[in-house]
Symmetry: C2
Subunit: 644 residues, 2 copies
Amino acid sequence: MSAEQTKDPVAEQIRAVLDGRWEAIRQQLRADPRFPVAEPDLRLDLEQHRARTLELVTALTDSELVRATLPVELGGTGDVGASVTGLEMIGHGDLSVFVKAGVQFGLFGGAIANLGTERHHREYLPGMADLSLPGCFAMTETGHGSDVQSILTTATYDPETDELVVHSPSPAARKDYIGGAARDARLAAVFAQLVVGEEQHGVHCVLVPLRDESGQPMPGVTIGDCGTKLGLKGVDNGRLMFDQVHVPRANLLNKYGDIDDQGRYSSPIESVNRRFFTMLGTLVRGRVTVAAGAGAATRSALTLAVRYGLQRTQFTYPDGEHEVVVMDYRAHQRKLLPRLARSYALALAQNALTGKLADISTGEITDESSQRELEARAAGLKAITTEHANDTIQACREACGGAGYMALNRFADLKADTDVFATFEGDNTVLLQLLAKGMLTDYRSDFQELDTRGAILFGARQVTTSVIEHTIGGSIIQRLISGAPGKDGDNALEDRGGQLAVFEDRESHLTETLAMRLRRAGEEGADSFRVFNEAQDHLLESARAHIDRIALEAFVTAIEEAPDGPGRDLLNLVCDLFVFSTVEANRAWFIEHGRLSASQSKGVVARVNELCGELRPHTATLVGGFGIPDRWLTTEMMADLASF
Amino acid sequence: MSAEQTKDPVAEQIRAVLDGRWEAIRQQLRADPRFPVAEPDLRLDLEQHRARTLELVTALTDSELVRATLPVELGGTGDVGASVTGLEMIGHGDLSVFVKAGVQFGLFGGAIANLGTERHHREYLPGMADLSLPGCFAMTETGHGSDVQSILTTATYDPETDELVVHSPSPAARKDYIGGAARDARLAAVFAQLVVGEEQHGVHCVLVPLRDESGQPMPGVTIGDCGTKLGLKGVDNGRLMFDQVHVPRANLLNKYGDIDDQGRYSSPIESVNRRFFTMLGTLVRGRVTVAAGAGAATRSALTLAVRYGLQRTQFTYPDGEHEVVVMDYRAHQRKLLPRLARSYALALAQNALTGKLADISTGEITDESSQRELEARAAGLKAITTEHANDTIQACREACGGAGYMALNRFADLKADTDVFATFEGDNTVLLQLLAKGMLTDYRSDFQELDTRGAILFGARQVTTSVIEHTIGGSIIQRLISGAPGKDGDNALEDRGGQLAVFEDRESHLTETLAMRLRRAGEEGADSFRVFNEAQDHLLESARAHIDRIALEAFVTAIEEAPDGPGRDLLNLVCDLFVFSTVEANRAWFIEHGRLSASQSKGVVARVNELCGELRPHTATLVGGFGIPDRWLTTEMMADLASF
């Protein structure tokens, strides 16, 4: 920890709360001078940046982070939470390293671990972990990104040779934007429509060698380079076309669908849809990790902008002598502090999500509804956290004026690198729809019942009332809501229980009315696409309300579990700001639906201003609480201010 | 014009309306194959990009655009409107060229033209125009950007040598982010505190040679390089420190303040404040140009995203066969169409602003209140248009998914290059305050009466009712408002006059209540900073309401003046969407202040959805109406879609 942070015991209390269950690995990486939280090196060209990124990722192979990625039987710790959290910490540094590591250990490694069986684990995971086998995850195609079920690449079983033939039938089938494909990957986890005999069995994953030892493309494999991108310059995104590429049958990752020695297909999951969604469920870890990294980048940006705003002055007070510290302007507080409060809420929701992922991975939680809930929540939290990242990093850049535009001050990379987080691992709009679907079906319905088009059509659901489940801090939340005196009255927002009830009520109302609208799609003669499409904005709003609610629950639970002290008191204030600024942002809805009167609504706006003022003296502590070591955030602009 | 555009007569009608008064130069530049609307060249390093940018700017010197920059007596046309519009057209291409040209012809040239006198014009403007004298505009300092009045650089008259001594007294006085300083500029227009004898006369502009013919820094001048920035890679931003640099007295740009042969200072403007604001008034052209360029970049992004959205499909209809064109999704329409409508409104407000600038420049309008109005409006429109650019280009990038992230598809540069438009030529928050100040004083009060701290403190103004002046399309607007049947009733938004009245009412109410709050700052014992600061968000909202109002007036006026036909009908629909989506975004305010009932507010949301649906079939025409030649917008992603 930096000198500054150790001087502030309140920041230290807050850091412990934000660090949560995987505090140990966070502290270990903070203290590790070799940990690759690299500053941008602006002299590098594309090739040099890629080379450096591979080097930094390779340097991780002896870290706890990568040990956490490997199962116990292969010498690792199998601690998925530590692996995600370790990657999250990289998110404070060079995000090319974060993404490249995420592709290798999370997506490529995850596909083998979750879709493959023991023989694949033994053969490939050690090389995955020590980077002797750089891989990639080839799912997205030029023609189909969000709609994975419609991808065009085929993997056809050839009984003559007992091989699978991987093929790209058209330009739209080209694998696109594949991280690692352009330069480094030797093996690709390729998603393709599996064809055995006359039958299509849906999307499966096949391991396809891309390059030989000397780096030359394998026969039938055409590799393209996406070239320069908006950001993530160190990630070698590329394109793949397969021209009848033969691979052994054993290269099929066969946990959920296999071809036996007689060339017969079988699967433990009968329904094609259900099988598809089960396989896609393994994407959840990637989404959890992306959300985690986006959160880290956001907190870096806020730390930089707040510290700059505490030193930077502009214009004088009426005395004509003293200049005003820009953080004292209400407009500046309004720009940064509600976003800071939301970052706290999302960080704590993220911790809960990582925890749930870990518990399901270790088998501590086994029921299918928890798995479905995890998938829905990961989709939603990824969408909201990455959207928040883009919005907040932009605000932070602007809050630092011209200095914010200079690459040495970090916002350039933070902005450019996180921008695509809104798109990869699932487009945010599609992911919010996925969450809404989960909300409507209460995570319990079998995917078989759902329309095959996944995120798009719901058909006639029978949901009339939604059941809010308090899966984060259940008993704590229930107790607070039950004990809220003003729950249904005029002062609902004045205590924590009332606030929780207000957030819950919004989600319930949106979800119930959504279900009513969508049920019409199932009526005789209904144009079901039209019914869905006309409710699409309603649907997205329901998903947002859900994430707001679980973020508040996570925040409240973390506060309730924290030891008494000034750190906890301050967290309570931040939580208030999160509540009031969230209600403020949605206050039109609250008035329209009779939840707030016009004058109460004005009161909410006033309360946000008041809370910004109350938090102003604590802003240094609040970014200190993020626990980002000073040496990870050196910038030219702070050195400039110090020289005045 | 491209083949596609000539095929659509409705788009052509709309183009003529959007082109407005300077249609001729727009059409001329569209048809000019040499016009430098360059695609990004991704292989260039910093130095190569800078060299190419200088080359492209130099290539402009024989264009109408640059002739328009020069006064008639020096062989130009002195057509400021054509100059701004020509630069706006460059905004469709490489924005480094736009900024570099803007610095040379607009800021550097503008400082000499507007702050200098005939001897400066003769000596420097020809070299400015033919690029034999590359210059820069050195105002911003590391310690003071928005607060120009507090800059620290001094220009002290030395009677011994009859020279001015330019000096940077501290690191905070360093000139920073100065476009052209790092590589090309030979002469700088340096803003400094003028000291003659014992007396400080406030900020003046002095021409200081930076480099000799061989490019070496002049004695006493230290030049730094800002290096890599988030964007605008081709602009060589740099830093300047002056160590007692002597320049001839004649280098003082002496229109508003001069030193005579006896070493005595004199100025035609007695008040130091008024003089300062008069000199700063010359910045208005830079702000008008930046807003114009941001608007152009936004329309480029929308054109790309809409055309992509009309070709791209994702997920199938319930028939399981046909894929849905993404523009058919309501969420996609919601993402792009309200932003498109706002882009129309802002483009037309921009045309009105450019026209006003031109009329004032040619002396057709001479009253001081018009000049003040122009300054306030330029500040506000620059802030809102650049904010809209950042928001819209981001939405367009996301609307194109992974393809949007590839540099070849243009969003990378559009985003990175326009990002700083929110900051340069005045931070957007500060500019909105400047506008609000103008609104409070009705553009009529003498700046002398105002608090010296400019944008920050208003003191006790006596404004109790604000007077809305219809300076765009005055009689048209008045007639529509007077004729509105439902003006005060429930259906105010149903006709154009009622809509205008609603926008006007919002601005009036916000401004009047703001004035009431701020008057308290003048009361005995009041903490005037606190009064101002607590009203800051109110103040910013007033400024936004003002820009919404004048944008609507500009839109309505342009429609009223357009010939009847399907182009005009479509513009009417777009204008409706602008109205309803603006009210929707601010609907909490309208309900809180008794302007809309809860159910009317819900109706507004529904109407936005309806209008999106009504405009959907016309989206190709609507972006065609922007009149951006196809060859300026070639991208890889459209070629990919065409190959499917």
